[in-house]
């Protein structure tokens, strides 16, 4: 059966942390997916997974996925391992269709190489920038595409959480999550690239909670060829942010738009003002686990693979995020 004729997909998940479990559960309820294998290095995680997942092969190495005739693999391991795992998947021809949790790679060089390998494979590839599947951020994209704000002049973007607001040493964990830039900042950079297109980093500052060099706070400024300017502030040490919060304020020639996970507010210079909450934007999904965005993301990818059409954000788009992050680190004098 050719890809274009496929009615259902055989999928595997590599890496059974929070995100791996979440995607595995969602894949298990999607009607056109059969979850056939899970891969994790942890002995206890594998033992528990054997009890939780029926008729699913649980393995501890990528090689063991060979011969399963997979259609799709999710890579949900810590960021530093993305490059080697995805490279192995493509090099060994395990499967052409690959999803990677953000960020695509640990650096831009690695991201570029993965883009090339993905292109050679001819399959569908996607990176887990799930904010694109949030109803509020989608609404904002729709408004920007319709030029509701006129020409965008500038924006300011923030990503805050309280994850490490009460700890003083988190270097090891920070590195596995790609620092605050890779963890929270990457979502914000992806949104900005999606909304405004390419930009370059002008000035950047990174700081750490301890002296181990992890990124815990980032402030950077960007500009684009059309003169648009932007500012990013990212930290996971901010008190009062029980859940991570992402937001942008966009200034255009016709007015201002405020966007975050909960609402979109448009204020035009002609006096017109509109506010949409999630409630107004049809936020229900077929199966809710974690947040509606995850279901939409997985459902969209599966449908894209079944139809053999490009899924977005693909590796190439996601590599631009890695490029911006690298520029921030370079400008701040802290290259990885």
């Amino acid at each position: 059966m050719s890809d274009s004729e496929k009615k259902s997909l055989k999928a595997a998940v590599v890496g059974l942390g929070k995100m791996g479990l979440l995607h595995a559960c969602i894949l298990n309820v999607l009607p056109n997916v059969k979850l056939v294998a899970l891969c994790d290095k942890g002995f206890m995680i594998r033992r528990i997974s054997e009890k939780l997942f029926r008729n699913v092969r649980i393995v501890n190495a990528l090689d063991d996925l060979d011969g399963l005739d997979l259609d799709l693999v999710y890579v949900t391991t810590p960021i530093p391992s993305h490059f080697s795992i995805v490279k192995a998947i493509y090099s060994e021809g395990l499967v052409p269709n690959v999803f990677v949790e953000k960020t695509l790679a640990h650096n831009y060089e690695g991201a570029k190489e993965l883009c090339m390998l993905a292109q050679e494979s001819g399959g569908v590839n996607m990176v887990g920038y799930m904010k694109r599947f949030s109803v509020t951020f989608r609404k904002a994209k729709n408004l920007l595409d319709k030029e509701a704000l006129g020409r965008v002049v500038s924006f300011s973007a923030y990503a805050y959480s309280s994850d490490f607001s009460e700890t003083k040493n988190n270097s090891k964990i920070s590195v596995s999550r790609g620092g605050v830039l890779g963890d929270l900042g990457s979502h914000l950079v992806d949104l900005a690239l999606w909304y405004f297109g390419d930009f370059r980093v002008k000035l950047a500052r990174l700081s750490s909670l301890d002296d181990m060099g992890s990124d815990d706070f980032a402030l950077f400024y960007v500009d684009a060829s059309d003169g648009m300017e932007g500012q990013f502030e990212v930290t996971w040490c901010k008190k009062g942010y029980r859940m991570p919060e992402f937001g942008l304020v966009v200034y255009g020639t016709k007015g201002t738009m405020k966007i975050n996970d909960d609402e979109v507010e448009l204020e035009l210079k002609d006096g017109k003002s509109v506010k949409w909450y999630r409630h107004d934007l049809d936020d229900n999904v077929g199966f809710l686990l974690g947040a509606p965005e995850f279901f939409r993301e997985d459902d969209y990818l599966v449908k894209s693979v079944l139809k053999s059409v490009d899924a977005k954000p693909n590796f190439l788009m996601a590599s631009r995020v890695d490029w911006v992050i690298e520029q921030v680190r370079n400008k701040a004098g802290k290259n990885a």
Partner: protein
């Protein structure tokens, strides 16, 4: 609607945890008063004095402190307790800080062991030895119940212990019928009704029917509101599922859609639903506690 004596009118704890499903800005704007245990316990008691007959809470240090404060005021026997475990936010945050699920598992195991609950530990050892997840769940639930009992004393009426939505949804997605059945069988032995919180009500009902689960033995808490907020996959599907569930204790959450709806219009909708046995509502101001629960009581009588 069911007979009025069976209607549960519950105070929810979301505001005490800084949760607003409308917007995080709104929860931050509530100010610090809501984080004060004495103030929070006063709000719960005010709601009780004005029509509420129960408190639904996630088991956390915050809510246990509130329960202790209510106990000190000798009011703990006056209402039913509906506990939700685990307090997922705390565990997700711990997993983040401890570097993942394995770090979290070690921390929880240490907490259970240091709780010195012999019954829980005995079941837990079996669970660890055989990676028996049903035993591990029982151990964990016993541990949480011991935390509640130590805050409330033995005279409090713990009506239901509900599994948090993240556990319910994961188990549903993996078709773990044995997990649900094991929990439902275990809890009545403790004199407590087993319950499940879900934001996939229609899916849960469909699965439970497929697995021949007796709805009359369980409590289900799920969103029901006029605009279908968090009613997955749709308001209509959830309403249809509700109409097909008789004998269960279904408690409507998010009836105001996190403050998006006005109480009167929200209650009109809920009152028209069949097979609903309760509502839960969080309040952050004293006058809200007074007026809202007075209104709820009058509308449901």
């Amino acid at each position: 609607m069911p007979e009025k004596e069976s209607m549960a009118i519950l105070v929810g704890d979301n505001p005490f945890h800084g949760i607003s499903h409308l917007s995080q800005d709104r929860s931050r704007a509530r100010g610090s008063e809501i984080n004060n245990v004495d103030y929070a316990s006063h709000l719960v008691m005010t709601a009780m004095e004005n029509g509420a007959n129960g408190f639904m809470f996630s088991v956390s240090d915050t809510t246990l402190s509130i329960l202790k404060a209510i106990r000190r005021k000798s009011a703990i026997r006056d209402f039913g307790l509906y506990a939700i475990v685990p307090y997922a936010y705390e565990y997700v945050r711990l997993a983040t800080q401890l570097g993942g699920i394995s770090g979290l598992a070690k921390r929880v195991a240490k907490k259970v062991i240091t709780s010195f609950d012999v019954k829980a530990m005995a079941i837990g050892l079996k669970g660890i030895a055989w990676t028996d997840l049903a035993s591990l769940l029982k151990t964990y639930v016993l541990y949480e119940i011991s935390r509640i009992r130590s805050a409330t004393g033995k005279q409090a009426f713990l009506d239901s212990v509900l599994l948090h939505e993240i556990i319910t949804e994961m188990a549903l997605s993996l078709n773990l019928d044995w997990f649900f059945k094991s929990y439902i069988e275990f809890m009545p032995k403790l004199g407590i009704r087993p319950g499940f919180e879900t934001r996939n009500f229609a899916y849960l009902v469909e699965k439970f029917k497929e697995w021949n689960i007796d709805f009359s033995q369980i409590t289900i808490a799920s969103p029901f509101n006029k605009i279908g907020f968090q009613m997955n996959p749709s308001r209509i599907k959830c309403e249809e599922a509700l109409s097909g569930v008789t004998g269960s204790k279904v408690i409507a959450m998010s009836i105001l859609a996190a403050g998006y709806l006005r109480p009167y219009e929200a209650m009109d909708y809920v009152l028209a639903l069949p097979n609903l046995n309760g509502v839960v509502l969080g309040v952050s101001k004293e006058h809200h506690a007074r007026e809202t629960f007075k209104l709820l009581k009058s509308r449901f009588e």
